[in-house]
Amino acid sequence: MAFQSSDQANAYWRENLSLMLKLLAIWFAVSFGAGILFVDVLNQIHLFGFKLGFFFAQQGSIYAFVLLIFVYVYKMNQLDQKYNVHEE
């Protein structure tokens, strides 16, 4: 067991899950939310030559996905250090 105690293991896993769920909520919001479910509402707003909903569906969501993964990598590396379960 790499953790000090099973409490530690549970705490690590809970923090991991909470980070994951937060990021997945953003993932859902930028793609399914802005690009699909609320596309018609957002299309009322214009951003240069784009309707905003259309922009999220064809450009914006993809940029957001990349950011999400790198935020996850950064936060998880911190979490691994905190609980001392990082790799050598």
């Binding site: 293991a9 479910l37 240069f48 569906a57 969501s61 993809i62 993964i69 998880m76 379960v85 790799e87």
Partner: protein
């Protein structure tokens, strides 16, 4: 130099490059046959993953589909990128910690069952076959245009090339070859996009040109396209025709399917450390993003150029005697047809009864530089890029099919005493057989390239993704639940697709929105399949035997990075 010569030269040069790299890289790495990532940085691994991932469908077909579908094409853009978020957050680090080589390995060990392994093998083979069929069609389109042969001959030439490349040569999926293929394909994709963006909008960055005004006017490109669509009887470019439920489900099926594709998952088994598995997914998505944010720009530019060259700037039609060169080129392949319905001697393209043109969507990316009258070397470059995209993916897929048969099915299941040598023979034979079947499907395609590929995602979404995620996040999921879930998901999804598309049989009902379940098309049904998988699995696991303690301990172990050894072979 004429286009044909230029194409031979460009494709030939890139082949020399790949072969040289394959030979150079293999010399030093025979020891690392399986752990391709041993000395490879996450960035290079990400680039290779991107090349492996971006297929003929991404390169050739996607921008063309978007061009015809407008907003509806967003399903491919979001679907094929959003899956990487799921992969990075829910699968890659844990599968790396688990430390085996194939998806059936994980399923078999986590669910302590040969039956589960066999179900996984069958799913892996089914998925990879559907996927590779789309690749063969794509290769066929490229060869038929540039060698000026009918599409069927193009597919057969493609089969021969893939056979030599993947079965005899670079079967080992050498990472550096795929890095080179990424560079070739992204360069080939961006060059014409930049040229065309400059010509239409005056902005050299296609992503920005997409939202700019048309050069010399105050009209935004997208507004102009909406106007033209309306005038010609198409749905608005920024609006589309699919129902919201269908768009939602197709996007979800593609995302979940991406994260469940065996040939993508496999790449994260072989990076050196768990943290590299997370980073690799990020790098892969950056490299994929470059192409995926350019594609919708190309789609819009191509749409604008195509309508203007066929209908003329005044939208009155073009005289047949003045047919633009690109149209007569593609007419030879049979992928563009013109029928002068009103007998006025003119071509006209529209979305209503006035239409006289039949245009295959798969040709748009290849025709795009011709439509914009770019120099021959650019057109030849695009051909080389398309072939790079198709080859790198086909090689990765054939590897999955042949390891699924030789390693997972024969060695781990039916014939445990098989020697390494005959395992390799079986692997080659399986790959050769796979190419024949894929070629048949390429000649008799059940849909456009991107659509055929979309089915593979539906199957992956309905089978692997739920089984793997539950395996990691739900310690109580047992073998009975997982097996029942995968079977229910796949049988439902395959059944639904066959019912409407009838790949080897006659469809049982016309493929129309009125007939669909909840208005969800066969492309999006994988989402429902995935939900069914989860529901069946949870229900069955409630009423069957509990998971053995050692398996629960295994799940505890894969949940944190420390102690991840090198990936091990059995």
């Amino acid at each position: 130099m004429d286009l044909k010569m230029m194409t031979y030269l460009m494709v030939g040069l890139t082949f020399v490059l790949y072969t040289a790299i394959a030979i150079w890289a293999r010399a030093g790495s025979t020891k690392e046959f399986y752990v391709a990532g041993g000395g490879v940085s996450p960035m290079a691994n990400g680039m290779a993953t991107a090349a492996d991932w971006m297929s003929a469908a991404s390169f050739i077909s996607m921008a063309g589909l978007i061009s015809f579908m407008g907003y509806d094409g967003s399903v491919y853009l979001m679907g094929w990128t959003g899956g990487y978020v799921l992969l990075a957050l829910c699968l890659a680090p844990y599968l790396r910690k688990f430390g085996k080589f194939t998806v059936p390995d994980f399923i078999g060990d986590r669910y302590y069952s040969q039956t589960a392994r066999t179900v996984a093998v069958v799913c892996a083979i089914l998925i990879s076959f559907t996927y590779v069929a789309g690749q063969m069609r794509g290769v066929g389109v490229v060869f038929s245009r540039f060698l000026e042969v009918p599409i069927d001959i193009g597919v057969i030439i493609g089969m021969a090339v893939v056979f030599f490349y993947a079965v005899l040569g670079g079967m080992k999926g050498i990472t550096y070859t795929q890095v080179a293929q990424y560079v070739v394909l992204i360069f080939a994709y961006l060059v014409p996009a930049i040229f065309i963006s400059l010509m239409i909008t005056g902005n050299p960055i296609p992503q920005l040109g997409f939202g700019s005004t048309i050069e010399g006017t105050d009209t935004y490109l997208l507004d102009k396209l909406d106007g033209l669509s309306q005038e010609l009887g198409f749905a608005l470019y920024t609006d589309g025709t699919k129902s919201m439920a269908d768009v939602f489900c197709i996007t979800a099926a593609l995302m979940v399917g991406t994260a469940g594709l065996p040939h993508v998952i496999v790449r994260f088994f072989t990076v050196p450390r768990v943290r590299d598995a997370r980073t690799s997914a990020g790098w892969a998505l950056i490299f994929i993003m470059i192409l995926y944010t350019t594609a919708p720009s190309i789609g819009a530019f191509a749409r604008y150029n195509m309508i203007n060259t066929i209908n003329g700037p005044d939208q009155q039609g073009t005289l047949v005697s003045e047919t633009p060169q690109w149209i007569s080129n593609w007419q030879k392949t049979g992928l563009i047809k013109h029928e002068d319905k009103n007998g006025d001697g003119k071509m006209f393209y529209s979305g209503d009864a006035r239409n006289e043109m039949t245009i295959d969507r798969d040709i748009m990316v290849l025709a795009n530089p011709e439509i914009a009258k770019l120099p021959n070397w650019v057109i030849a470059l695009v051909a080389a890029g398309a072939i790079a995209a198709a080859l790198s993916t086909a090689a990765g897929l054939l590897l999955v099919i042949s390891t699924a048969i030789s390693h997972d099915l024969l060695k781990r299941n039916l014939m445990p005493n098989i020697s390494d040598k005959s395992e390799l023979r079986w692997a080659r034979g399986a790959a050769a057989g796979a190419i024949m079947v894929a070629g048949y499907l390429g000649i008799n395609p059940p849909g456009f390239v991107a659509e055929v590929v979309a089915f593979a995602f539906g199957l992956a979404a309905a089978s692997f993704f739920p089984a793997i995620v539950m395996g990691i996040f739900n310690k109580k999921m047992n073998k009975e639940g997982a097996i029942a879930g995968m079977l229910a998901g796949v049988i439902f999804t395959v059944g639904y697709i066959l019912y409407f598309k009838g790949i080897f049989i006659t469809p049982l009902a016309p493929n129309k929105p009125e007939n669909w379940l909840f208005g969800i098309s066969p492309e999006g049904i994988g989402t429902v399949g995935a939900v069914i998988n989860v529901l069946v699995a949870l229900t069955v696991s409630k009423f069957t035997k509990e998971v053995p303690q050692e398996v629960q301990d295994l799940v505890e172990q894969i949940r944190f990075p420390k102690g991840a050894g090198e990936a091990t072979h059995h």
